[in-house]
Assembly symmetry: C2
Homo-oligomer: 416 residues x 2
């Protein structure tokens, strides 16, 4: 028998989980500050719902966890939080629009596991359904910027482009409309293949590679304003300035994002350098394509595994210990009093641990150290007679006698 997690998945042990919780707590606080409401949907969906996204159809079976339940219903683990949202919207037609929803949860893809890429991963999404205004896109960009700031990122930025704009530019350069999705797919590989590689693939596909590269590098600025989508991009940047996030955005004509269902603005969030930790854009046709009403939508999504990894590598986590003190009886005779002190401290809101396995004092203090608990409260008969205990700072080993009634106040104020 194997005790490893299934291939491509992982456990979050306590020290990693605290990081994930810091990230999810922070994002949730920001999402709620922006008026987004939380929903939760099942881990799996009917396969036909999953297959409808962007017309991928049956082919998506290869990329997801697909199975049949015991009544032969085809189901699959969700591969993102957007398709479940679209299905939810269709299923709840009376929900007030625009519907601003956030969701934090797992999704699953049957990728080949790579470094920092898991088959099970945590996501946090904000989306606005039912507004075709650029104000909705700007709101998603705002909330994303605020998330990055609140997590402590300094050099982050969001690349912004517009699908309509890029499509018009390409068409103005004589590229046929029905070839543009294929063109997008190659351009999307810029970060992976580099300019050389993309140039090569474009030529293989029969495109004028040099012309296209010049274009997405901003080589035809004069022609920009004439094409569809140019105004949209300009307007979005103006809105961004009004809400104070202009400096965090960078127009990048090479950004296409592979997913076929984007219809307008597209975004990608970079923690710094070229490390992407989120992205999104406008997808006005998804809900209709799924068989629902004609509702525009836009959103942005964070990859939490990626965020935690980047923040760990950049030493950004400054997490205080959750458990403040270990209450340690010096022997069995003071055990009962120790339990009462634990009880009283917890009543006062102090996160507090106690001996639950009958360890001797020395072992218990070692155990508290191994859990990085900052204080120990040593309960001995001598001090108990004076209604006091010994408070030990586990870092420097300093001890002092403290009245029991003063403990909670001291530990809560950090004055200990």
């Amino acid at each position: 028998m194997t005790f490893q997690t299934p291939k491509g998945t992982r456990d979050w042990p306590p020290e990693e989980m605290r990081k994930l919780q810091f990230v999810t707590d922070t994002l949730r606080r920001v999402f709620e500050k922006y008026g987004f409401q939380s929903i939760d949907t099942p881990a799996f969906e009917s396969f036909d719902v999953l297959a409808a996204k962007g017309g991928a159809g049956e082919a998506i079976k290869e990329e997801i966890y697909y199975f049949k339940d015991k009544s032969d219903r085809e189901i699959g683990l969700r591969f993102d939080l957007t398709v479940p949202l679209a299905r939810f919207i269709i299923n709840n037609p009376n929900i007030p629009k625009p519907f601003k929803r956030y969701a934090i949860g797992k999704a699953w893809r049957y990728d080949n596991p790579q470094a920092q890429r898991y088959r099970e991963f945590w996501m946090a999404d904000v989306d606005i359904v039912g507004s075709n205004s650029l104000m909705a896109d700007a709101e998603c960009l705002s909330v994303a910027v605020e998330c990055m700031r609140s997590l402590g990122f300094k050099k982050f930025y969001i690349r912004v482009n517009n699908r309509k704009f890029l499509e018009s530019l390409f068409m103005a350069k004589g590229i046929q409309k029905d070839r543009i999705v294929d063109l997008f797919r190659t351009i999307d590989k810029l970060d992976k293949l580099g300019e050389e590689g993309v140039l090569k693939e474009l030529s293989e596909k029969g495109f004028d590679g040099k012309n296209i590269i010049t274009l997405i590098n901003g080589g035809y600025k004069k022609e920009y304003s004439k094409v569809e989508g140019a105004l949209e991009l300009e307007e979005l940047m103006k809105l961004a300035k009004v809400v104070g996030i202009g400096k965090n955005l960078k127009i990048d004509l090479s950004l296409v994002r592979g997913l076929e269902y984007y219809t307008g603005p597209v975004f990608e969030v970079f923690a710094g350098g070229t490390v992407s930790c989120g992205g999104g854009g406008r997808y006005d046709r998804l809900i209709k394509n799924l068989g629902g009403p004609d509702l525009p939508a836009t959103g942005i999504s964070f990859g939490l595994d990626r965020l935690v990894n980047i923040m760990t590598d950049s030493k950004m986590f400054r997490l205080n210990p959750k458990t403040i003190c270990m209450v340690a009886p010096v022997n069995d005779r003071s055990r009962k009093e120790a339990l009462k002190i634990v009880n009283a401290l917890r009543d006062e809101g102090v996160n507090c641990d106690s001996d639950v396995s009958g360890k001797k004092l020395g072992k218990l203090l070692e155990y508290a150290s191994s859990l990085s608990i900052p204080y120990a409260i040593i309960v001995g008969e001598k001090e108990l007679k004076k209604k006091a205990v010994v408070l030990r700072n586990m870092k420097n080993g300093k001890e002092r006698t403290v009245k029991i009634k003063d403990l909670a106040g001291m530990l809560n104020s950090g004055d200990s």
Copy 2:
């Protein structure tokens, strides 16, 4: 195409999700107050891990979501959070013991869906691994009591029994050891079948039904103290009294809990009456049976769908709206200033919504009402000249003019 969630699963729309979040936030705070640490494990496990619990083996395939991945690995969605914990413990041998962990997440069972019983459900578990002391069981009971109190329950209680004790009693009455599991299975149906039904099934199985019913109803008190496990139960009740939860516990000899892997104390949490919302007990053999070290363990588990349902039925939720105000421009000319106000309020920590779809004032106020947002900030040119806005109480329709600089303070203090 169906837009329903897959059979036996459900969505949590915003108003339900807020209840779930209240419950998970409350439990998490209590768990951390008691020094439990959080871990997360994958939604699915290798099938051989899932099959090992309590020796259910292959038969469990019928009760879980079982499937093969694309490399023909047998996997299954976890059906609880205990088996993943046991697997985690084996996989992380150096984690300090006792390991006090909590986990909040979903599990899946291929039950026949019934009222209030889902195939996908939320659980919250606390467990202590590596202590065979009753102090660990008492700690789990304490944390469970505190959870129920913190959720606002008044009449809850925890039924407590001891498997060893009951087993000894039965053996003292001449029942063969190898028939006791079967006996437990029938007694476990007391709530479902009633005494009549259980009596009938016991007779069918060849037991002396009347004698057994008398026994679990407390009919042979004098004989109790002589058998194994009696002291354990007594000691646990004493410890419970020390930590102030004695009144919340009820010894109930009829409580066996069906799962075969319990080895000592067993618990079941009742919100009041006979509605169970959680349970647990000591399972000293599970980790070893799974192929790991000989580590004792005890824990307790809450069913969150059940808790949310009970609390809804009992009208226990008093949730404040998450979004405090809607900033509403009277026309397009005040839109830019409105965005700046939204921005400033969010910077001051006010959860604040804004127009993202170009609604006219009347429609926007209707929309705010439909979201139960308590205040609207109406931004008009006339007031803007005086650096002020109109603050509207959405409940009673009262309006007053307020300086922009005073808004955040007023909304944050609730003095509005």
